[in-house]
Structures are given as structure tokens and as C-alpha cells.
């Protein structure tokens, strides 16, 4: 029933050893008056019954839609080898590797993960992962506040609204001043941005590609930020880094992002993977676990959790963050995914996403009344203006078998007719043509 191995005899002999006559006696410290007022939980079910019940619920979710929704969370193909490794229970039924001698597998895998995050982002150091892309931005902002001793954060509104909202929630009881820079024609406005960077600024947060899909080179922003002694933080999409300029190359001090696209299923919002990399002088401000290489008493290479004095079990209220776990199993998926693809595969994957999105732009721009926004280059996601409310178009496209995109009006005022469309390598030429045909029919 509850996966317990005890026989009746076991229980009575154990009770005898303990010197009590019944299990109830073990709970005698809980006064009768404090016993549960109710405990209305359904009776036990068999594995078969529970599985059937949940299969029924799973069937109530739509899996037939051809998906063009991205908005920071993407439908990429996951090679079976990723699932196979993540299903090794020697990985998934272990806990945080506190005892390095019996956790070298995990520690080495995380060290390898840290390495690939550094390679992807072009930065020096990475932690062992954070909860998600949003908590990663919050942690990065707090790093900058600690490092600079300042408290003003400037954020481009091309950063995913979900993350901006999380950042406001998390800092609502802290002394942090925010400035949001409006997006003009889907791009960050340098003029507005530069106006606000001053000697009180701890950090400027940019996203690339931004929420509208626009690809930018932020080198000039970073230069301006550094002139004022502030830090530059980038939120990036890891699959795009097979092609796009990594944040380290643009001069960013901290890179964060959502690692879901690296072999992690969409799974209705989690578990996902927050990643964070930074320049090495910031390592002591970094939150979360970090694995380092060292040697054992015989000089053999081995791995340990290191720089733990930053963490809450030592620093308590003075810790860099309250985070004490990571998303190790998701980080494992990411490192296996990237290792399988290798540099060629990663480049190819980015290339496919880019090419297919360009093809989709071409197809959709032929539909009368649809305007593909071309003011900036894009990677695998782009914005179109529709002749009517995007919500309504999305609604009607569901009937045609498509989740055709994300209506920007949900997150931005005045953009009710705009639709954000993501095209991953999983969408075939045929899918894209059918999307275009169906959209034409819906609009016609």
C-alpha cells in the first residue's frame, strides 16, 4: 500500500525492542486535543486504477495541436538518449551531492554542465543551475545590487513580462528602484535607455532575442552600462546561442536564461532549468550550488561542492540567496542534450530554427492583411500584425488544429492585433504551409 516492507512480526518485535506496546504509544507526545479535526482522504487505489485515472486526465489535454506558441518556452525535439540517461535511478533517486565520495557521478555531470553553460554564454563561471529563467534574473539582479552597492535596476520591456512580474514580486519587500524602458517598434530604445543609466544604477537587464523575437547586438548598451560602473545582465535563449552572439562576446557581466529548450519537456510549466553564468570576479556573489574540481588524498582528480560559504546553511540570513537546491536532473538533461548534439549539431539546430522561421515569414507575408514585422532580424520567433484581434484569430485557429502563436496584447497594451509566432525545427514545411493556408482562411 505505502511501499512499506514491514510484516506483522517485524512490527511487534520492533515495538518490543523500543519498549512500547503499540504504535499509538509512539505518538503520545501529540495531545489528543491536537489530533486532526478531519482527514478526509480517499481510500487507497491500486497502481492500475491510479494509472487509468490519470491516463483519462491526460487525454483531456490537447496534444493534437500543431504548436507555434513559444514566448520563451519552446517545443523542441528531445532525443531518446536524453530520456534514457535521465531515467537512470542512480541519478534521479539521489540527493544533493553532500558526500563527494559517493556522488562523483552527479558532481562530474554538474561540472560538465557548468562547462557547457560557460561555452554557450561565453562567460567564465556557471552555477549548478537555478529553478527557472525568472528566478535566475532575480538572482542576477540581486548579485548586481550586492556587487555595486547600488539599488537601481533598469529593465528593458523586451524582457519577458513573466520574468519582470516575478522580479517585482520578489523585490516587493526590498529597497530596489526599477525603471522600465519601453520598446519601440519591437526594439529596445537606446535613447530612452541611455537617459536612465546613472551612477545609482546597479544593473541593466536586456533580453536577446527579445520578447518580440528581435535579435540585437547589445555591445553598445554594455559599453554605456560599464561607463557608469553598473553591470549588464542578459537573459538569453540557449538554442539560439548555436548561432547568435553569446552574451560574453557582447561584454555582458551576467547571463541568465531558461534552459527548457535543452532537452526538457514543456510539461505544462515545469520542471524547468534556470541557468546563470558570469564573469569570474562575480563568482562569490553567485547564488546556488557550485561544483569545483580538486584532487583526492592520492592526487586523483575529483569533484566537490565548493564556495559553500556563500550559502544559507552557513550564512543563514546573510547568505547570497535562500536558494538551497538546484534543478540537477534538468541540468543533467541539458548537458546530455548538448553533448549529443556537439558543436555541429548545435549549429545545425540553430540554423534549422532560423531557416524555418524565415520561411514562415515569407509564407505569412503573402496573406493579405497580414503584416510581418521586419524592423529587426529575428531568430525563430517573430511578430505579425493581423487585421483583427489576435485573441479571436488564435481562438478560431484552434479549431483548425493550430496553436498558432501568442497574442501580444496579453502582455503589452495597444498590441491587440499582434501575434508572436515561434517556429522550431519540429515544424515541417508542410506544417508551415498549412498554418499559412488556415490563417488565410480564418482571416478571409
Amino acid at each position: 500500500m505505502s511501499y512499506v516492507p514491514h510484516t506483522k512480526d517485524d512490527i511487534s518485535s520492533m515495538l518490543k525492542t523500543i519498549g512500547v506496546s503499540s504504535i499509538d504509544e509512539l505518538f503520545k507526545d501529540i495531545p489528543q486535543a491536537l489530533r486532526p479535526k478531519s482527514f478526509n482522504i480517499p481510500p487507497a487505489s491500486s497502481e492500475f486504477e491510479v494509472t487509468q485515472h490519470l491516463k483519462k486526465l491526460a487525454a483531456k489535454n490537447a496534444t493534437h495541436l500543431i504548436n507555434f506558441v513559444g514566448a520563451g518556452f519552446y517545443d523542441h525535439f528531445i532525443p531518446a538518449a536524453v530520456d534514457a540517461i535521465a531515467s537512470r535511478s542512480e541519478f534521479y533517486t539521489a540527493y544533493t551531492p553532500y558526500q563527494p565520495e559517493c556522488s562523483q557521478g552527479w558532481l562530474q555531470a554538474i561540472y560538465e554542465y557548468q562547462t557547457i553553460i560557460c561555452e554557450l554564454t561565453g562567460l567564465d563561471v556557471s552555477n549548478a543551475s537555478l529553478y527557472d529563467g525568472g528566478t535566475a534574473i532575480y538572482e542576477a539582479a540581486m548579485m548586481a545590487i550586492r556587487f555595486t552597492g547600488r539599488n537601481k535596476i533598469i529593465m528593458d520591456s523586451g524582457v519577458n513580462l513573466i520574468y519582470r512580474t516575478m522580479l517585482y514580486t520578489y523585490t516587493s519587500n526590498l529597497n530596489v528602484e526599477f525603471v522600465e524602458i519601453p520598446v519601440v517598434h519591437g526594439q529596445s530604445s537606446r535613447e530612452e535607455l541611455f537617459k536612465h543609466i546613472d551612477d545609482k544604477t546597479a544593473a541593466v537587464i536586456m533580453q536577446n532575442p527579445n520578447f518580440f523575437g528581435a535579435v540585437d547586438d547589445h555591445s553598445d548598451v554594455v559599453a554605456e552600462v560599464h561607463k557608469r560602473g553598473a553591470l549588464a545582465i542578459a537573459s538569453v535563449y540557449p538554442v539560439s546561442l548555436g548561432m547568435l552572439k553569446p552574451p560574453g562576446e557582447a561584454g555582458f557581466d551576467i547571463a541568465t536564461g531558461e534552459g527548457q529548450s535543452l532537452g526538457i519537456p514543456l510539461s505544462f510549466g515545469g520542471p524547468y532549468l534556470g541557468f546563470m553564468a558570469a564573469k569570474k570576479e562575480l563568482v562569490r556573489q553567485m547564488p546556488g550550488r557550485i561544483v569545483g574540481a580538486t584532487v583526492d588524498s592520492e592526487g586523483k582528480r575529483g569533484f566537490v561542492l565548493t564556495l559553500q560559504t556563500r550559502e544559507q546553511h552557513i550564512r543563514r540570513e546573510k547568505a547570497t540567496s535562500n536558494i538551497c537546491s538546484n534543478e540537477a536532473l534538468c541540468a543533467l538533461r541539458a548537458v546530455v542534450f548538448v553533448a549529443l548534439l556537439g558543436k555541429e549539431g548545435l549549429k545545425e539546430l540553430a540554423e534549422h530554427n532560423f531557416q524555418k522561421a524565415e520561411f514562415a515569414k515569407d509564407c505569412l507575408s503573402r496573406i493579405s492583411g497580414v503584416q510581418v514585422k521586419r524592423s529587426s532580424p529575428t531568430f525563430n520567433e517573430f511578430t505579425v500584425m493581423l487585421p483583427r484581434h489576435a485573441d479571436e484569430v488564435v481562438y478560431r485557429m484552434i479549431d483548425k488544429g493550430f496553436a498558432c502563436g501568442f497574442p501580444l496584447g496579453r502582455f503589452y497594451k495597444g498590441l491587440d492585433n499582434y501575434l508572436l509566432i515561434a517556429v522550431t525545427e519540429k515544424r515541417t514545411k508542410e506544417d508551415i504551409r498549412r498554418l499559412s493556408d488556415s490563417l488565410e482562411a480564418v482571416l478571409g
Partner: protein, 482 residues
Amino acid sequence: MKLIFEKHKEGRVGFTYTKADVPLALPLEAKYCRKADVHLASLSELDVVRHYTNLSRLNFSVDTNFYPLGSYTMKYNPKFTERIASLEGFSQVHPLLPQLLGGGMLAQGSLEVLFETERLLSEITGMSAFTMQPLAGAHGELAGAMLIAAYHKDKGSRRKYVIVPDSSHGTNPASAAIAGYQVKVIPTGPDGYMDLVEYQKHLNNEVAAVMLTCPDTLGIFNPQIKKIADMAHEVGALMYYDGANLNAMLGKARPGDLGFDVVHLNLHKTFATPHGGGGPGSGPVGVSESLVEFLPIPRIVRRSDGTFALDYHRHKSVGYIAPFYGNFGVILKAYAYMLKLGKEGLIQAAELAVLNANYCRVKLREHYDLPFDKICMHECVFSASRQAKNGVHAIDIAKYLIDKGYHPPTVYFPLIVKEALMIEPTETESKETLDEFIEIMIEIARLSKENPILVTQAPLHTPVKRLDETKAAREPNLRWQQ
């Protein structure tokens, strides 16, 4: 073992995509692109699979070893929940689907799982409502501390302090600090309970909340808990329940009935979802009636027609704690576990977890110091002080256990016990496993007297010997470089 990067062979190919089936567009301008390819190893699929399979074999895990790591509830993780989480109907659903017009009806299964899990957890803990958003225990604590801050702000009361006992988890003070509070620490009395005189002294209308673990980190249930809660409520402070140790309480006592206002749980502890090498976890937060309006948005609601929907219209909500609705994949496994166990199973889990812990306590108390010798709940905390006099410290005991194939207990926590050894066997371990473990622990106690070097030189049979942590911290090497 070699690193994956050290197995590189130029020209080798692992995973390939078919050729693009669309006409080629002009490439992006160079200024937007990376100068050089990402520096990664080229490997075959077998190279990668063998590498990580062999790495997995260097870990201790619940499936391979007894893992009595106190405070983490390393119980068996049933396999059927893994299969359920991988059903396409769950794993492939985009989280934004229910936020599209008409999309909610296409994610009814997932919304129902979330709604029903909230209801079950509310009943198990005696709370009014739950949010499933927090992505781990510490994240739940942070969310809980924010809910407390929102509650007091709404009342127009400016409070400065959060009270924690000195036996608390390190995350408690860290979470309170992020919510804007200063921490007051109350010492533990000689009886193992929080010192009520000190508590009374620090309690006033500047205190926002009292954060407690129950049973506490010594594995002891404090019969005065209701009184502590009443005293807090008297001055308008809220009671916060750190759910790390809920496993002992299932069906035996509910935080809500004990007077707690905010509760965080760890689904990866109590509800048997895998710990995943440190995550993903799930740290849902439950609240009493007066805090429901502050819960993060969206809330999952059931409409009058029985369908489920997302509700964003809660103007007093703290906002978003997670990007979406929580670690859905983890929540799903916990839901399946609760349905499978049912009422009797959950109660039985608590009972046998407590039985196992007390069995270890009684069998080992002759051999190790037991600072607070009374009936414990799900874990027992020994001290290796006696052994330390002969040079055998808690860490040495841990290493010797590893050599014998046992994952060590939690060591050096709680901080108030010198040379602490915190043993949490969980209910899924058999008497035979416990007996074998106890035998090794007794052997260590004996060796500590007779031949301590045999313990202090451990481990001898592991892939690496004791590692130089000083070197790791002084000369940080945090990534591979050619």
C-alpha cells in the same frame, strides 16, 4: 573518469537533424552572430550514453543504497509515477495553452490535477487553500514569507522581526531576510524544546511571524506547540510551518489544527517524488483563510459547470512566484502517490517512519550520545561527541559508512548538537536493512575505542578518496578548459 570533453574526436557525429526542408534564407549579419562555433566535444551517441551511464554508477541513490539522510526523507520513489509523468498528454502541453482564448478547455486534465492536488494537500494539512507555484522547499519558504509580509502590509502594520529557533533550517532566516525581515533567534532549552521564557521575552507587536519546524529538527514533537501558536497570535504574529518533517505527522496532526497560518511542504520529501540529485522539487504553500487573498496568481478555480480555469483577478495577490503553475511534472507524481496510498497508506507511512526511527534510536543509544533521549518522530539525532574524544568525528563516521555501502546520515546539523548525526530511515526500509545499518554503526563505535585509525582513514573503496576541499575553495576550478 575522463570528462566528456576529453573524449572528443574531431569529425565524430552524435545526433543529426535531417536537412532543412525549406528554401535557404540569407544568413544574419555577422554582428549578430557568434565568432566561433560553441566549443564542444564531438562524440557518437554511444560515447555519450556510456559516459553518463558510467557516471550514474558512481552515485549512491535510494534505488541502490540505504540513504538515511536526516531531514530529506529519502523514501522509495514508486516507478509508476514516472510513467504517468511521461504520458504525452501531460509532458507535451505548453504552459501558455490555457492562457489563449479557448485554450483552457484544451488543458483541463492538467488543471484538474493541480486543483485536486491543492484540495488533497489542504485536507492533509488542515489549511484553507494551497498554491502549487513554489518550485522547491526554500522557494516555498520565500513565498510564505512574502505572503506574511503582504498580510501585515494590508493590515497597515509595520513589523520588523521573524522569530526562529536556533535549531531551524538555514533557509528560514535566509527567506525571512529576503521578505524584508530581521531575524531573532530563540535558544533551545535543556529539554530539547524552544525556550518559552526567551520566546515570551522576544514576542511583541513588532514580530511578523514565528517560523517553526514540527516535529523540530531534533525529531521531537513539541506538545506546547499550540501554546506557542496562541502566544504568537495574541500579539498579531503569524505562525509559519516548515514542512520538511511532515512525514511523521500524516493523519496524526495537521499544522492547521495546531494553529499554523502558513505552511510549506516538500513534495519530494513527504510525497515520494524523486530528489533528482538536488532538484527538481516542489514546495507548495498552504494558508489559513485570512491569507487566501494574497496567494500568487493565477489561482486554479472550478467553474459552476465543473470545468477548471485560471483566475488572475486577485488584486491583493503577491504576484507571480513561478513563471506558471509550479513544477507540474513533480506535482503530478505526488498526486499519483497520494491517490495510490489513500488515507490508510498515508497514515501507515507516518507510523512506520516513526517506528523505524525509534528502532534506530533505541538500538544505538548505548553506543552514541543521544542529547535528547525521548520518543522521537521520523528521525533521531545522535551526537558523536563520545567518539570524537578518540579522534573519530561525525565526518569520519560518514566516510566509513560510505565504504560499507550506506549513505551517511545528515552530519553537523542541527547546529545545536555537537558532532550531530541525524538519522531518518523512512518507512520504506525493512527491519533487515536497519539491523545491518545498526550493526555497522555499532562496529564504528567499537572501532572508535579500539582502533580509531580504521575509521578515520575511510573511505578506501570509493572512486576517489577524501577530497581536498581547501584546494577547491582556494583555487576555484569550476569548468573544464583545454
